[in-house]
Amino acid sequence: MTIVLNGEDREAPPDITVLALLETLDYAPGRVAVELNGDVLRRVDFGRRTLRDGDRIELVQFVGGG
């Protein structure tokens, strides 16, 4: 299936959870925030929410800023 991750099309295994996706990318769940189809996904739901074809995911973190 295809998901849209930070604006880019990406292939992902069917029914992958957000948590598993983060693991494949090497990002610690405590260090990022996730928006799924326009809504913030709470951290407690990372392991429960499975992704579906066409899901749009924004994956963000803190960077230096003023």
Binding site: Y27, V34, E35, Q61, F62, V63
Partner: protein
């Protein structure tokens, strides 16, 4: 001698200086500069992770979050909608309701979009955020932000990153005179220590800066200079300066002069 603490939405912060985390030569210099500044709050930006770089070094590895509070910003947002989305993500990433709200209206000056700022403030206040909006040095806008529930107002001294110092001291004085119920934190435009001291002498509750420190030849030394300037300026404000006079007033007694 101590100056009073900065209180925002009922929470006290020992330092009146808030510093940014952007534009440092590297994370280690940033870490040392934050330490030297004595800041108890630091701003951070919320950005998409770089998918071409897996995991790796994170800003948060260099910030002692047991000692400093993170203040996520909405820098780079040009609409209320973008700013609200960014604030929500910042809250989830940092697990705190604080947000430095920026809604920018002009690319060249980075001046705020007042309408978008007000709109985003109202939405975020309703969602329980502690909103600290970056705004013009405009009293009417500041009042509206306060009335919309902003926990502080953060007027600029000069354009972001310009280092020009206070460009409109009269406006800042008016704002400080009229906005008494929420803190006024001057955000942006401080170029060197004297700028920060003047901001604090004018009576600002706090000052927020990034480029003035990060862009200095020696950011760590400048961070310490800023800490001292903020403390000196605040002490001078609390001490109450003498009135300015056009002519001399002798400091030594006029009686008993040897003639």
């Amino acid at each position: 001698m101590q100056t009073g603490t900065l209180t925002i939405a009922g929470r006290s912060y020992p330092s009146r200086l808030i510093v940014g985390t952007g534009k440092y030569p590297d994370f280690d210099i940033m870490r040392r500069a934050i330490e030297a500044s004595g800041a108890s709050m630091v701003t951070v930006a919320v950005r998409r992770v770089d998918l071409s770089r897996r995991g790796g070094e994170s800003l948060l590895d260099f910030i002692d979050t047991t000692r400093v509070t993170l203040l996520p910003n909405t820098a780079g947002c040009y609409t209320a909608d973008e700013a609200v989305r960014t604030a929500r993500l910042g809250r989830e990433a940092g697990l705190s309701d604080l947000v430095k709200l920026e809604v920018i209206g002009d690319e060249k000056t980075l001046f705020p979009d007042n309408e978008g700022l007000l709109q985003a403030t109202r939405i975020l206040v309703k969602e329980g955020f502690t909103v600290l909006p970056y705004t013009n040095d405009d009293l009417v806008v500041a009042k509206r932000l306060r009335d919309a529930g902003a926990a502080a107002v953060m007027p600029l001294a000069a354009p972001i990153g310009s280092g020009l110092g206070i460009q409109n001291p009269a406006n800042l004085r008016i704002l400080l005179e009229e906005i008494r119920d929420v803190p006024v934190i001057v955000d942006a435009g401080v170029g060197t220590a004297s700028d920060a001291a003047i901001v604090m002498e004018t009576g600002a509750d706090g000052v927020l800066m990034n480029t003035g420190i990060a862009g200095a030849d020696d950011p760590v030394k400048m961070a310490r200079a800023m800490q001292l300037a903020v403390q000196a300026g605040r002490l001078a404000f609390e001490a109450g300066r003498i009135p300015k006079k056009l002519h001399a007033r002798a400091s030594s007694p006029l009686e008993g002069i040897v003639r």
